[in-house]
C-alpha cells in the first residue's frame, strides 16, 4: 500500500481510530453522569459511531482515489467477499434467533463481521492470485 491513495487512506484512518477510542471513553464516562439519564444519552451513544461512519467514507474514498485499476479490482473483490460473508452470517444468525432461540447478536457486530470479512477477502485474493499464477 504505497501509492498515493493508500497513503491518503492511512493518513485518514489513524486519526479516525484515535478519535474512535476517545469517543468510546467519552461516551462511557458521559453515560454514567446525570446527562446519561436524560434524552442526551441518544447523542452520547452516537459519539463512537461518528468516527466509524468516517471510516466507511474513507474506505469509499480509497476505492475512488485508487488509480491502479488492478489493485482497485482486488480491493473491490475483497469488499464483495466481506459483504457476502456479512449477509450470510447475519441471515443465518437471524433465523437461528427466530427458530432456535440462539442468543441475540447486537447490530454493532455487523460492521465487525464486515471488517473480519475483509481479512477473508484478502485470503481469497491470495488464493486466487496463487491459483492463477
Amino acid at each position: 500500500m504505497r501509492n498515493p491513495a493508500a497513503r491518503a487512506y492511512i493518513r485518514r484512518f489513524i486519526p479516525a481510530m484515535i478519535v474512535y477510542v476517545l469517543m468510546v471513553a467519552a461516551a462511557t464516562a458521559l453515560s454514567e453522569t446525570a446527562l446519561g439519564r436524560g434524552p442526551a444519552i441518544w447523542g452520547i451513544a452516537l459519539l463512537p459511531a461518528l468516527p466509524l461512519l468516517y471510516v466507511f467514507w474513507i474506505i469509499g474514498r480509497y476505492l475512488a482515489e485508487q488509480h491502479d485499476e488492478y489493485v482497485r479490482m482486488l480491493e473491490v473483490r475483497k469488499a464483495l467477499v466481506a459483504t457476502g460473508l456479512t449477509l450470510a452470517v447475519t441471515t443465518v444468525l437471524g433465523f437461528l434467533e427466530i427458530y432456535a432461540e440462539a442468543p441475540h447478536l447486537p447490530l454493532f457486530f455487523v460492521p465487525v463481521i464486515w471488517f473480519a470479512g475483509l481479512c477473508a477477502g484478502q485470503i481469497f485474493n491470495w488464493i486466487a492470485e496463487r491459483g492463477d499464477s
Partner: protein, 63 residues
C-alpha cells in the same frame, strides 16, 4: 485474452518494475496482465500501446 507484453518488455530490456513505472501502475498489475490473470481496461490498453508505439491489436489478441 493473450498478450505480448512480456516479449515486448524483454526486447527493451525492461523489468516489470520499469514497465510499471512507465505506465504509472504497480508491478503487481504488470505481472497480472503479463500472466493473463487480468485484462486491462481500454484506457490502460491504449497507454500500453502508446508506450510501445504499437496498435493495441499488435499487443493483445483473442485466445
Amino acid at each position: 485474452m493473450k498478450n505480448r507484453l512480456k516479449v515486448l518488455r524483454a526486447e527493451r530490456d525492461w523489468s516489470q518494475s520499469d514497465l510499471a513505472e512507465r505506465l504509472e501502475v504497480s508491478r503487481q498489475s504488470v505481472n497480472a496482465i503479463e500472466t493473463g490473470r487480468y485484462d486491462p481496461s481500454l484506457p490502460l490498453a491504449f497507454r500500453i500501446a502508446a508506450l510501445f508505439d504499437l496498435p493495441i491489436e499488435a499487443i493483445f489478441s483473442k485466445d
